[in-house]
């Protein structure tokens, strides 16, 4: 019971103390609570921050790896395209080189060759010079011939004149008009008259027609053959003295005409010649030499020969001459091929 009393006596103090201590503590409790809260919040903050930092670190790592991965992909694409482009450029450049050479070669060889043109023009001018020379020569020759013909005509006229007026020739008794005694030399006409043969009365103009017959064949061969003349020898030739044969017999024998055998008389190709002659007659009668062709396109068999300068092993372009439309067989719906 003492304790109880002591406790009861102290209870108020305890109560007070209790209240006082609680209230004091209360004052500090808030402070401490706040401090604890602060510490805890700070600590939690640090924790969270550390966590977030970690998260950041991890996210950075992930992002880094992802970015590097996608960057590498892009880079590979770029490299791929760049290398493709470089290769294409290279191919293009090489193709251009080839095409350049080929085009130059083709134009020069098949379409237009400058040096060939120059050569051609040179050849043309040389031909022109040659033709000009030849024509000059020809003209000169013609002139010379004409002059010669003129001179000859003049000469013939003068000769004829002299022969007609031969009676003006001077005789021993009477000097002619061209041979005046007061002149030193006779006139040149006088000399011409001396040389001229007087015209015979009634000169008959016998024009001998050159007929190619077997009898006259003998007349135009060499001197070794018998001489044959159309004109008979003069009738009143005096009989030569001596043991000569009768002149008529001799002349008969000498001028005996050729009597060829039948085999010689006809040429060996008589039949062929006759056939030719017949064919020629028929040909002469024909208006049109071509055989009659029943269909109108039989004569259209001329193959077109293109110019040598524009055709080649590589041939002319078939588009524009053989076909005029572009054909894509792959696009055809039904099989028209």
């Amino acid at each position: 019971m003492a304790t109880l009393a002591r406790l009861q006596a102290r209870s108020k103090f305890v109560a007070q103390q209790y209240y006082f201590r609680n209230s004091v503590v209360d004052i500090f409790r808030k402070k401490e609570y706040d401090a604890a809260v602060k510490i805890q919040s700070w600590f939690r903050g640090c924790q969270v921050r550390a966590h977030i930092r970690n998260l950041h670190r991890v996210a950075t790592i992930i992002q880094k790896w992802w970015r590097s991965y996608s960057g590498r992909q892009e880079y590979q694409l770029i490299v791929k395209f760049a290398s493709c482009a470089m290769k294409m450029n290279l191919y293009n450049a090489m193709a251009v080189r080839i095409q350049r050479r080929w085009r130059g070669y083709r134009i020069r060889k098949y379409c237009f060759n400058y040096f060939y043109l120059k050569e051609y023009l040179k050849a043309v001018s040389e031909t022109n010079d040659a033709i000009r020379e030849a024509l000059e020569e020809f003209a000169e020759m013609k002139e010379r011939e004409e002059k010669k013909a003129d001179l000859e005509r003049e000469e013939k006229k003068r000769d004829y004149q002299a022969r007609k007026t031969h009676y003006l020739l001077s005789t021993k008794q009477i000097p002619g008009i061209y041979n005046s005694p007061f002149r030193k030399d006779p006139d040149p006409w006088e000399l011409r008259l001396q040389k001229a043969k007087p015209l015979t009365y009634q000169r008959s103009k016998v024009k001998q027609k050159r007929c190619i017959s077997l009898s006259s064949w003998l007349a135009c061969t060499s001197a070794r053959s018998f001489p044959r003349s159309e004109i008979l020898p003069p009738i009143d030739r005096k009989q030569c003295q001596g043991p000569f044969r009768d002149i008529t017999e001799v002349l008969e024998q000498r001028y005996k005409p050729l009597e060829p055998t039948l085999w010689v008389a006809e040429p060996i190709s008589e039949l062929k010649v006759a056939r030719e002659e017949f064919r020629r007659q028929e040909w002469m009668r024909d208006v049109n030499d071509n055989m009659f062709l029943p269909f109108s396109s039989y004569h259209k068999n001329k193959k077109y020969t293109p110019l040598m300068h524009s055709s080649s092993k590589y041939g002319p372009n078939s588009y524009g001459s053989q076909h005029f439309r572009d054909e894509n067989p792959k696009k055809w719906i039904c099989d028209k091929g």
């Binding site: 023009l121 001018s125 031909t127 033709i131 024509l135 013609k142 002469m284 208006v287």
Partner: protein, 509 residues
């Protein structure tokens, strides 16, 4: 009366008839008598004499009729109206060769005047008898018949077709091969008259095998024959490419070139006509002629003759140059351009000048090289003066304008262009300035020359509407020079300078 006295009357009558008809025939040779004869009614008197018993009177009457009809077409019509032709045709078939010659002469004389008279001859069936006469032995008869056929066929294509249908062409080709020169001439002239109208007729002549014989006859020394032969060949070749190729295949080149050196003017003319007709069809034929040296021969021929004889040669050069630039270059190196410019300046006739202008235009229009070759010979001022002159015919003006334009569009030879700045009309000036604007930006020496020769000054003086092509050209020329120089040469610059002098206040210190 006794028999002799009776017969004497007849003899007198016959003598009178003979004398009358011979006198008339002789009088008809002189033109001044013909009027009188016509008024005296000679036609009606001669007509019964054609039926006379005595052959000499018939022949002389026919001869007299022919001479009268030959003179003018009224008399020829009178012959036709007087129904003389059927009688002539009938007796043509029967009589001797003198009568045939005289009758064919009458037919020729009537048929030559007009197509209607020739048609009248065809209508009375004369063609068949004339063709029969072509088969006669006597060359004089053949000549007269061929002459008549030629004159009939000359007028138009229907008459030629009628002559061909009568079967004359093979016989004419035979006549060409005869030895007599006169017959050859007339037959060739008849073939030429037949083949000139249409390609079918020319083809008929070719089918009869005429070309080979004609090609051989080019070498004949007789000049009148050569004229006719060359005329036939050119009439055949002018129609189409095939015919021209056939003529060429007969190997006339280079023999034809010797004909260009002949003394006779008309042989030269016909030879150059033939070459022209061949050259005008395709470039290949022109090339063939160039390769054979034909261009040089034609140029020499042009140089050696005057007047209308030159015209086919000039046209031939134009045709050859028109085909392609290589051929034009071939004409240039054969020294064709100086010859053509000589023709242009010295010929008095306008149509020849027009042809020369056209040919020069064809040569110069291809590339700057060609234009330079033409411009160097100083032909452009001549062409300009022909274009501007009021005396030139319209054709000449048109052709010279076209030639100037086509040459100027390619000409880069500036010394020849400069005179044009001064005296050209506006439509040509535009082209000249255009050419300058093309050349000057690239050539520094030319720029210097342009300034020193006064061209820049002239260009500044040209008035052009802003926005027109001429203004653009002037601007591009001005852009080639520094601004001060352009201002220096602009008109009125000295005035502006003096104005500045007037308005300048010297600095007072």
């Amino acid at each position: 009366m006794s028999q002799r006295q009776v017969l004497q009357v007849f003899e007198q009558y016959q003598k009178a008839r003979t004398q009358f008809v011979q006198m008339v025939a002789e009088l008809a040779t002189r033109p001044q008598n013909i009027e009188t004869l016509q008024n005296a009614g000679v036609m009606s008197l001669l007509r019964p004499l054609l039926l006379d018993v005595v052959p000499t009177i018939q022949q002389t009457a026919a001869l007299a009729l022919g001479r009268l009809a030959n003179y003018n077409d009224d008399l020829a019509e009178a012959v036709v109206k007087g129904d003389i032709l059927p009688q002539l045709v009938y007796s043509l078939a029967e009589q001797n060769r003198f009568y045939k010659k005289a009758a064919a002469f009458v037919l020729r004389a009537v048929g030559k005047h007009s197509p209607q008279l020739a048609q009248a001859i065809v209508d009375c069936g004369a063609l068949d008898t004339l063709v029969i006469c072509l088969e006669d032995f006597d060359p004089g008869v053949k000549e007269a018949a061929a002459w008549a056929l030629g004159y009939i066929a000359r007028h138009n294509a229907e008459l030629s077709q009628a002559v061909v249908d009568a079967g004359a062409v093979p016989l004419l080709v035979l006549c060409i091969q005869e030895p007599e020169i006169a017959l050859k001439r007339i037959a060739a002239s008849a073939l030429s008259d037949i083949s000139k109208h249409s390609p079918e007729l020319a083809q008929t002549v070719v089918d009869a095998g005429a070309i080979a014989h004609l090609a051989q006859m080019i070498l004949n020394p007789d000049s009148k024959l050569k004229r006719q032969v060359l005329s036939v060949l050119s009439q055949i070749a002018k129609h189409s490419v095939d015919l021209a190729e056939m003529v060429v295949e007969a190997e006339i080149f280079p023999v034809v070139l010797t004909c260009l050196k002949d003394k006779d003017e008309y042989v030269k003319k016909n030879a150059s006509t033939l070459i022209r007709e061949i050259a005008k069809h395709t470039p290949e034929l022109s090339q063939l002629i160039v390769n054979a040296g034909g261009v040089a021969a034609v140029i020499d021929c042009i140089g050696s003759c005057k007047g209308n004889i030159r015209l086919p040669g000039i046209m031939m050069l134009g045709y050859v140059a028109a085909h392609s630039e290589n051929l034009a270059m071939a004409v240039i190196i054969s020294k064709g351009v100086p010859q053509l410019s000589v023709c242009l300046s010295e010929e008095p006739e306008d149509h020849i000048k027009a042809a020369a202008a056209w040919a020069l235009g064809q040569i110069g229009r291809h590339t700057p090289e060609h234009a330079r070759a033409v411009a160097v010979t100083n032909t452009l001022p001549v062409l300009l003066s022909l274009y501007m002159s009021t005396e030139s015919s319209e054709d000449l003006q048109v052709k010279s304008k076209k030639a100037i334009k086509s040459i100027l569009q390619k000409c880069t030879y500036l010394p020849a262009l400069e005179p044009f700045l001064y005296d050209a009309p506006p439509n040509i000036l535009k082209h000249v300035v255009g050419q300058f604007s093309k050349v000057l930006p690239h050539d520094s020496k030319a720029r210097r020359l342009f300034v020193t020769s006064g061209g820049l000054k002239k260009v500044q003086e040209i008035k052009a509407e802003p926005g027109s092509l001429l203004q653009e050209y002037i601007n591009s020329i001005n852009n080639c020079y520094p601004e001060e120089i352009v201002r220096y040469y602009s008109p009125g610059y000295s005035d502006t300078l003096l104005q500045r002098v007037d308005s300048y206040q010297p600095l007072t210190h």
